[in-house]
Amino acid sequence: MKITVKDLSTIAAKKNNELNTYKAMLMVCTGTGCVSAGGFVIRDELNKILEQKGLDKEYLVVGTGCNGFCAVGPIIVVQPDGIFYQKVSKDDLEAIVNDHLIQGKIVDNLLHHGKADDSAKKTMKEIEFFSKQELIALRNKGIIDPENIEHYIAHDGYAAIGKVLTDMQPKDVVQEVIDSGIRGRGGGGFPAGIKWQSAVKAVQKRGMPPYVVCNADEGDPGAFMDRSIIEADPHAVLEGMMIGAYAIGASEGYIYIRKEYPLAMIRLEKAIGQAREKGLLGKNILGTDFCFDIHIHRGAGAFVCGESSALMKSMAGKVGEPRAKYVRSVEYGFRDAPTVLNNVETWANIPMILRKGANWFASIGSGDVTGNPWGGSSGTKVFSLVGDINNTGLVEVPMGVTLREIVEDIGGGVPGNRSFKAVQTGGPSGGCLPAEKLDMPVDFDSLTEAGSMMGSGGMIVMDDKTCMVDVAKYFTEFLANESCGKCTPCREGLQTLRETLQNICDGNGCESDVKYLEELATFINETSLCQLGGTAGNPVLSTILYFRDEYQAHIQDKCCPAGYCKLLVTYSISENCIGCTVCAKKCPVNAITGDRKAMHVIDSETCIKCGICVEVCPVDAVEVK
């Protein structure tokens, strides 16, 4: 049934009433992380148990998108109290139903324990991971069913487009977005409102109907913000795009999404289907004159297709090779028409800006964006906090919080008795920041100044057993593999860079190498055609800037201080060995010998440095030096 603007509040009220009839709701995380550990099975089993016990009218099971705290999944949150159960398995469900729902007793062994005081935390609010977070883009994560449009409407969804269509002129919408100061969340940090304004001008100049496009390619390895936003709240992205389309006068929109994200794709397709059914997409949206529809294009696994001109080529069914930047895609984009391309997170923020106002948004974050969006970084940013850190997952924090707050307070620091070494931000175009930089604020300009960048929001923490030369090699190799091959500095230069780094890691580096690396990396940055090559030197430059010692150790002393580079380390067993024989049994090449309860020895001639003995030793007796 097609609805009008007025119907939105009626639907919301009705749905909220319906949800309020339940004694409690069990929010089962069905984001990709939890699904891989059985999220769907848990949701279905829970439904079955409630049905068997005749409780399905009193309790509602909701499959939600990623809750954020993926490290401890699968997760169930019992609302409205917000009781947080972690690492739930199928066998725990009886206890949750019997103890918690029926008898009102919290199931203690499924609670999260804080790191600082090791006390059991009952609710999400008490857990350190959720502290300091402020949710805008992820406002509905874990509290709605992403596959049900009425849940979204019940949480004020589509209210913003309703307001825009009835009360605002397109140019006011553009102005509101400019005033909010929001800068693109996909990498470049270009002010979204200014981009929209250019598109409007291009439409006037060229008289061609424009397009809005959502970049959901998320090629940055180690980042999954966009995937989670779509999985948790697909309608937020659709609503954002609708507002953008109204503002620039587009009647068609596209979402370019990686094929590696099947769950996100399914949820998007469902969301688009439901929105069309309700008359929120298609002709005469919400009973007004506004017509707009959204289609999906699937990516095929090329990092470079996240770049705007390559993405638009790929959407046209072609090979994704970038073109020179002087032709701007806001003027000549998809099908050669003016095109506004924004990232998933940018789009998801838009409805909130229109609903709560530009001033509200601009007041969050760092710097001052009044009158000039370049003046600071307003709003929040979603980060995927991963790597060597206790609380891995998705966090959304106001711009300007310090790295330390993210890594230590929210992330709970580095696991084991290891120490923090670096945090990598900005994806392959970014850089590695050392411990000295932990107190810097996290926003667009500070990160760039420190030799890294905001990027799309990957934040990879590294402990002291991570070799920074290897990390530089890793990123260079990634980029060399993803280079589209169109221009020479990137295609051939990255190979040379990679080979030089490999030589250093193998202990074959020479004195002049570091200088050569700096020269070549700068050269690649300066002469490449697109921003893939244009930033490809950064991982090398930033690791040299902050970790020059490590390069020197590899080159002069032929040693890898982190104990990582295979050709420079040997494995041995220390006196701590209790002779449990596990490592000897597991070693794939039988390089370990020793009697039960006696110290074991590794034959370094035979050892292939596979690392399995380190993994299995119960007392950390295997040393890598």
């Binding site: 993926c70 180690g222 590696e260 294009h297 991963v386 990390v471 890793y474 990679r498 399995i612």
Partner: protein, 428 residues
Amino acid sequence: MSEIRIQNMLRKHQVLAEMAYEPTPLRHGYTDKVLRIDIGSKTFDIRPISSQMKELWVGGKGYDLWLMFQEISKNTKWDDPDNVICMSSGPLGGVASFPGSGKTICTTISPATESIMDSNVGGYFGPYMKFAGFDAMVLTGKADDDVIVLIDVPKKKITIEKAPEESPDAHVMCEELTEMYAENEDDKRNIAVVAAGSAADHVWMGVLNFSFYDWRRKVTRIKQAGRGGLGTVFRNKKIKALVIKNKDFTPAWKIVDQPFADDFKIEPTETMVPLDKNTIQTIASKWNNDPEYVIEMMQDIQDQQRYISMECLDELNRITGVPKAQLYHIATFYAAFTLKPTGKHVIQVCVGTACHVKGATKILDSFERELGIKRGNTTDDAEFTLEAVACLGCCSLAPVVKINEDILGNVKAGDVASIIAERRGEQS
């Protein structure tokens, strides 16, 4: 591409003319030599470049136009044997430090405008022509049968050969000739091919393709001198291709620790149902036969068939009208596609940043060891294909491995043997 097929192709070559020569080394960016080849009379001529010509015309387009000026008259038509194709590189040609220094500049009388045109193009040819001892090259005359011209620098000779069997499609022909003249995988970077395809036989705007070897995708790729119908003139002279085999070029970017995937042959098993034309039509219809959605169509084909055969590409070309060369380019460009059949279990080891930091390299090594194959390959029994991929989007479960649709989180190197054994057990 099969060895034998290429060998047979080479056997059909017939040398029509041959000249031994001594390649002139580069001095200050110049060899000061022009190679003139008359395809009609099958004669070669190496001419010196005077210091006056060098001073006045520098190289590139200047050389080309000056050479043309001497070869043609005001009455020369584009399809006269006297029309020439001139190719030249500049003094910076082949110096890797400057953008654009890999270009070749070509000129001829255009069939489209009947006037002189120029076009510039990338690919390996320009630099390799310099390394072969020539600042410029002039092609004139017209052959009776389809020929190729080969400049073999290691053997120090130039030949004109009849070459009947090479594919008339330029993108395939470039692959075939690269394969034919390279001693091994690494040597493919020493081959530069210039070719025009069958379309150039029929239209006035036929392009000339210049190859380079993409080590990462293991495929010969091409750049085009697209302006003015150079390919049409090339074909009108009955030249199929011009090949330079460069000498002992050990590229700085020679891969150290990633041995190239060996070719492997596996017979289709019963799970590998060859797609019939109806299935492809059904898939294409789902996307309204819309050329903008060929990538989606190819994904659907890949999903069903676990690879994309050349026959599928032909069929898609018929249905959508998208040129075969473009489909082939898509199939080799995007990581999601493979032109070789994959195994029953596709193991994707995530080597994204989070997984890398958490030890993905050791896990990948373990899979390679336990399966006895390198990444990018399939086991002989067609059970397992091993791939390294960058980020599956479950980074908080790092290190992550995906086997077909299952995602395994927090994998340890020590688990690998049992993971494989489990999958082996599943099907017996």
